[in-house]
Amino acid sequence: MLWVENLTGGYGPVQVVQGLSFEVAAGEVVVILGANGSGKTTTLRTISGMIHGRGTVTFDGTSLLGKRPDQIVRMGIAHVPQGRGTITDLTVEENLRLGAYVRADREVEEDIEQWCAVFPRLGERRDQPAGSMSGGEQQMLAIARALMSKPKLLLLDEPSLGLAPLVTREVFEKLESINRETGAAVLVVEQNAGLALGISSRGYVLETGQIVAQGSSEELSTDEAVRQAYLGY
C-alpha cells in the first residue's frame, strides 16, 4: 500500500534521509527502529508532505512526493507527529472534530462518541482545552484525532516519548486493538523497541538515515545487535 524506494530528504542542504526503501502492506503494523537523530521524524515528515523528498513514495499506486500535507491526508494517511501535535487552544472535542476535517459524511458526531468510548478519559474531558491534559492523554487524543479522518494508514512518531512505562503500554495496547478493529495499517517509528516489536509484524532498523537491518518482528527481537542497541539487554 505504501511503497518507499530510494527516498532522500532533509533540511536545505542537509541530507538527513539517505536512500530509504521500505513498504507497508494494507492492514499491517510496521515499525522503524532508530536512535535519536537517526532520521525517523524526517522520514515520516517526508511521507506526509511536510518537507520535500526525492525518490519514490507511492500510496495505493499514486505518488505522494510534491503533494501538500492536506492532499495527502485526503488520500487516507494520518500522521501523529512527534510531540503529539494536539491543538492546545482547542477543546478535546474540537480537536476530534477537526480531525474529521477532510470528511464530508454525516457520521462525524457518532465517531466522536465512539472514540470517546474507546478512550474514556477523552470523553471525561471533552470540553476542556487539550493543553490542560497530561502527556498520555494528549497522545491518546492525537491518535483519536488522526483516526477521525478514517485513515487507511496511520503514521506514528514516537508515541512513547515522554510517557511513563505504564501509559506507554496502554497506548500500544490501544494501537493494537485499533489496528485489529479498523483495519488501518500502522507505521510506527520508535526508540522503544520492546513494545513496538510486540505489536508489529515487521520492522526496519534505521541508522544515520539508512536502513541497516530489516525482518519480521520476531527475527528483529532476537537479533543480537538490535537487542543491544534498542532493547537494552
Partner: protein
C-alpha cells in the same frame, strides 16, 4: 435661582458626558472593526498587516465609485464592494504574502516590508486613479438623531455600533459554529498540526485576508461621510493598532474591547483635557488625541505585556 443654575450645570455636565460617550463609542466601533481585521490576520499567520488601513481606503473608493453619486443605492454599492474587497484580500494573500512568506523562511521582516509595499501601493493608487480632492460620501444611516437626556445620538452612531455587533456576531458564528472557522482556529493555534489533519493552511490564510479586507471595506464606509480622500484611514489605523495592542493581538474579543476603550479615552481626553498641555492643539490633527490612550496602553502593557485579553508568552513578531 442658585439651585436651578447648579442643577442646569449638572444636567449639562451629564449631557456633555453622554455626548462624548456616544462620539467615543462611534469612533471606537470603527477602530474595533479595523482592529478585528488586524487581529484575524495576526492570529492565523502572525503577520501585522501595515496595509490594512490603506486597503480599507482603497475599498472605500471602490464603494464610492460604484455608488457614483447616487446612481446605485449605497447599500447595494457597499455589498458589491464588500465582495470585491473580499476577493482582493484573498488575491493579496495568494499573490503577495504567500510567495514572500515562503521565501522568507520564518524571518518576519520581509513580510513586514511586503505589507509596507502594499501600503505604499494602495495609498497612492486611489488618488492616482480618482484624484486627490475629497469625495462626497453618503452617511450610511442618514442624518437624523435621537435625543437622550439632552444629548443627541445620531443614527450613524447607532448604526455603526449595530454594524460592529453584527460583525462580531458573524465572526462568532464563523469561528465557533462552522468547520472552516474551527480550521481557522486550529491554524491560528498550531498551523502544522492543522495541516496534518488535512486543513489547507493556504486556504485558511486566504480566507483570513479576505475577511479582513472586507471588514476594512465596512469600516471605511462607516467613516467616509466626513469626506473621502487618500488619508481616510491613516489615523484610524494607528488607533486600531493601539486597540489591538491594548486588547491583546491574539484576541478578537480584546480587539473589540480595546477599540471601544481607545475610542472613549481619546474622545474624553480631547474634550476634558482641553486645558492640559499637549491636548490643546487639536488643529494639527487627530493623532494627538491618542496621547492619553498611548499612555494608558503603555501602563497596561507594563503590567500585562500581552494586552488585556491576550495569551502570555508572545514570541511572534
Amino acid at each position: 435661582m442658585m439651585v436651578t443654575a447648579l442643577l442646569a450645570e449638572e444636567v449639562s455636565a451629564l449631557t456633555n458626558f453622554l455626548q462624548y460617550t456616544f462620539l467615543g463609542l462611534q469612533k471606537g466601533a470603527v477602530y474595533a472593526t479595523i482592529a478585528l481585521a488586524l487581529v484575524i490576520i495576526f492570529r492565523v499567520s502572525g503577520i501585522l498587516n501595515f496595509a490594512q488601513g490603506e486597503m480599507a481606503t482603497f475599498s472605500t473608493f471602490i464603494t464610492w465609485a460604484i455608488w457614483g453619486d447616487g446612481r446605485v443605492p449605497i447599500w447595494a454599492a457597499l455589498a458589491l464592494s464588500l465582495v470585491v474587497s473580499f476577493a482582493l484580500g484573498a488575491s493579496i494573500e495568494r499573490l503577495v504574502i504567500r510567495p514572500v512568506s515562503k521565501k522568507a523562511a520564518g524571518n518576519p521582516l520581509p513580510i513586514v516590508i511586503a505589507t509596507i509595499g502594499l501600503y505604499l501601493a494602495f495609498s497612492a493608487l486611489a488618488p492616482a486613479i480618482w484624484g486627490t480632492d475629497a469625495k462626497r460620501f453618503p452617511t450610511l444611516f442618514g442624518e437624523g438623531s435621537l435625543s437622550l437626556a439632552g444629548a443627541s445620538i445620531s443614527y450613524q452612531t447607532l448604526g455603526t455600533l449595530a454594524v460592529l455587533a453584527v460583525v462580531v456576531g458573524l465572526l462568532f458564528v464563523l469561528f465557533q459554529k462552522t468547520k472552516i472557522g474551527l480550521a481557522m482556529r486550529g491554524v491560528a493555534s498550531n498551523a502544522e498540526s492543522a495541516s496534518l489533519v488535512g486543513v489547507s493552511v493556504g486556504s485558511v490564510l486566504m480566507l483570513g485576508w479576505a475577511l479582513s479586507s472586507a471588514m476594512g471595506c465596512m469600516a471605511g464606509a462607516l467613516t467616509a461621510n466626513v469626506g473621502l480622500n487618500g488619508a481616510l484611514m491613516i489615523a484610524p489605523l494607528i488607533y486600531a493598532f493601539a486597540a489591538a495592542t491594548l486588547g491583546g493581538f491574539d484576541s478578537p474579543a480584546g480587539a473589540v474591547v480595546g477599540g471601544l476603550i481607545v475610542g472613549l479615552v481619546a474622545e474624553y481626553s480631547a474634550d476634558y483635557l482641553a486645558e492640559v498641555p499637549f491636548t490643546t492643539i487639536t488643529f494639527i490633527g487627530e493623532q494627538l488625541r491618542i496621547f492619553p490612550a498611548f499612555l494608558l496602553i503603555l501602563v497596561v502593557l507594563l503590567v500585562r505585556p500581552q494586552g488585556l485579553f491576550g495569551k502570555p508568552q508572545v514570541t511572534r513578531v
